[in-house]
Structure formats: structure tokens, C-alpha cells
């Protein structure tokens, strides 16, 4: 009986769709560019009627003023969590922590900057 139960658990686990590991660049292209733009400059297709323009991730001076931890928090918990716009939603339901770290890395590539180096 226990064996059957264990098998059932294993089967259930294998039936759940496993989400593949995706690169920071790919995640950014799929999820972030709708607002932040395909060039990362804050000029995505959604911005026409926005009351606050999305962050320009290529802006080295603004981006270097923000720590990786702050960027991580903004992505995971949304703009309001760092006293920024409600238009930036929390992405914790979509991305794993690892994926958010990869996104932060990708944003550092877009701005060609690190925290405190602008």
C-alpha cells in the first residue's frame, strides 16, 4: 500500500509541468520588454497611456544608483515595494528567485554598469 502511495506521489510529481531554466536575456525579452522596450530604454509598446514612464534600463547613471538587492526587490515584489510606481507589478508568481537574479544580471548588461560605479 505504501509503495502504491509513493508511486502515486512520484507520478503526480512527474505529471506537473516542469518549468525550464531560461536565460535572463530571454526572460527579459518575453516579460519585460512589453513596458521597458525591446532596447531596454523604457519605451515599450505599452507606454503610450502610462502615467509614469517605465525605467530606462540603459541609463547607467540611474541604474548605478540602485543596488542589485533593490532591483531584485522591485522585480519580485513590484514597484510599490520600493516606493515606485504601481504600474510595475510583483513578478514573484512568475519568476523563481534564480530567474530574478538572472534578470538583474541582464539589466547590468543593459546599463553596462554596477551599483555605485556611475
Amino acid at each position: 500500500m505504501k509503495t502504491y502511495a509513493a508511486m502515486a506521489v512520484l507520478l503526480a510529481a512527474s505529471a506537473a509541468p516542469a518549468l525550464a531554466e531560461e536565460s535572463g536575456a530571454d526572460l527579459y525579452q518575453v516579460y519585460c520588454t512589453q513596458c521597458h522596450g525591446v532596447h531596454g530604454n523604457g519605451m515599450g509598446i505599452n507606454v503610450h497611456d502610462m502615467s509614469v514612464q517605465p525605467r530606462d534600463h540603459t541609463d547607467a547613471s540611474a541604474m548605478s544608483a540602485r543596488s542589485d538587492e533593490l532591483l531584485f526587490k522591485a522585480i519580485k515584489e513590484g514597484g510599490q515595494s520600493i516606493n515606485k510606481s504601481v504600474l510595475m507589478p510583483p513578478w514573484d508568481g512568475v519568476f523563481s528567485d534564480d530567474e530574478i537574479h538572472r534578470l538583474v544580471e541582464h539589466m547590468r548588461e543593459l546599463c553596462q554598469c554596477r551599483h555605485g560605479t556611475g
Partner: protein
């Protein structure tokens, strides 16, 4: 006796319609729509998805709307199924959608639309995610609703609340209440990833009260559009 025979004939007729509708879905719709699931688990699959998944259509759509829309389809997603495929540099420096790449949905004749809508209502994956009767009738003023949709919850960033006003990457919401079952809207807004793990609609951690009010608002928008 006659009544019993009548019921049997009705059942037979319904069965026949459903069988032809199911065939129609397989032959005409499955090229662009997933009728069996599961939803995309990778970004590659997400990018390649041509139309909304239909394996939970019976939980998601209103049959009457399906039947009408299939005869006179209109565009629901201003930037297509996946906006990323059609983005081009805009003249004003803002990314734009290459509308020449948008694909119009096929229109069906009345009988086929009816059969397809009936068959779609039998596709009921996700039954366990919907609480039947969870939405309670209520109302909200359009301006209060908009304040919530835009300023408090930020939904306007991706969704249009009237033609040409709002974000382009998500489906428009001014006909959402006509298209969608209220209980499904609540379930999807509560946890989009439960239905579609790679959906680019994030979970906004809406409260139960928010969910009810947002459905009130979408119903008000749909009425306003009439």
C-alpha cells in the same frame, strides 16, 4: 412514452451536434489552439503559441459570446497572441506593433459556430480552480473602477479599457465580461499561473474584495460599450 422518446431523441441530437463540433475543433481549430493541454512550460512554447489555449474553454468562455464571436470575430489582443513577435521600432521612439503581421480569426457560419461553441463548452480542464458562484452580483461606478484598475492596481499598463486607450500587450478588457465567465475571471486574476504557468500576466496578489470589484468594473465597461 412519447416524452421518454422525445428525451432520447433530444439526447441523440445533442450528441450528434457535439460530435460534429468536436470534429470541427480538431480539423479547423487545433492548428492554432491547444485543445488538450498542458499550457506552455517554456518560453519557446510560449512564443510559438498562435491562439489562446482552449482546453479549459468550458470554464473560461460564455457560450453565447463564443457562438456570436465565431461568426463575426473581432480583435481582442491588439498586439497579437505574443506581442514580442511583432514589435518594431516606432517613429516616435516608442516600440510599435507591426499590424501587417496580425492574423485575423477565421469566421464560421452560424451552424458551425453553434456546434463549435457547444463543443468548446465541454472542454473543462481546471474545474478544480473555479469556485462556482464565487462572483456575487454587484456594481461599481466607472470612475471608481478605473481608479482601481489604473492607479491602485496598475492593470491599465497592459490592458485597454476602451478602444485605443490602455496597454497593448494583454487582451482588451472592455468586452471581457461579455466573453468570460465571472467565476473564471476571479480565478484567473487570483492566480494566472495556475492556469498558464508562463503567462505574462503577473499575480498581483489581489484581495477577494479586489477581485469582486474588478469583475464589477469589467461588467460596467461592457455595458458602457453597448
Amino acid at each position: 412514452m412519447h416524452a421518454a422518446l422525445g428525451s432520447a431523441l433530444l439526447a441523440f441530437a445533442a450528441g450528434t451536434a457535439s460530435a460534429s463540433g468536436t470534429e470541427l475543433l480538431k480539423n479547423e481549430c487545433s492548428g492554432c489552439h491547444d485543445l488538450t493541454g498542458p499550457a506552455p512550460a517554456t518560453l519557446q512554447e510560449l512564443r510559438e503559441r498562435k491562439g489562446p489555449d482552449l482546453f479549459y474553454a468550458g470554464n473560461k468562455y460564455r457560450q453565447e459570446w463564443l457562438e456570436n464571436w465565431l461568426q463575426e470575430p473581432t480583435r481582442i489582443r491588439p498586439a497579437g497572441m505574443f506581442y514580442g513577435k511583432l514589435v518594431v521600432d516606432g517613429e516616435d521612439g516608442i516600440d510599435a506593433i507591426d499590424e501587417s503581421g496580425l492574423i485575423d480569426h477565421t469566421a464560421l457560419g452560424e451552424a458551425d459556430a453553434k456546434a463549435a461553441a457547444e463543443a468548446l463548452m465541454t472542454l473543462r480542464a481546471g474545474d478544480d480552480l473555479v469556485n462556482p458562484g464565487e462572483y456575487k452580483e454587484g456594481s461599481i461606478g466607472l470612475s471608481m473602477g478605473e481608479l482601481m484598475f489604473d492607479k491602485f492596481r496598475g492593470c491599465l499598463a497592459c490592458h485597454q479599457i476602451e478602444p485605443e486607450y490602455g496597454g497593448l500587450s494583454g487582451p482588451e478588457v472592455y468586452t471581457a465580461a461579455k466573453r468570460l465567465q465571472a467565476d473564471w475571471m476571479i480565478s484567473y486574476m487570483r492566480n494566472p499561473q495556475a492556469w498558464d504557468p508562463r503567462s505574462f500576466m503577473p499575480n498581483r496578489h489581489l484581495t477577494d474584495a479586489d477581485l469582486q470589484k474588478l469583475v464589477h468594473y469589467m461588467r460596467a465597461l461592457a455595458e458602457e460599450m453597448e
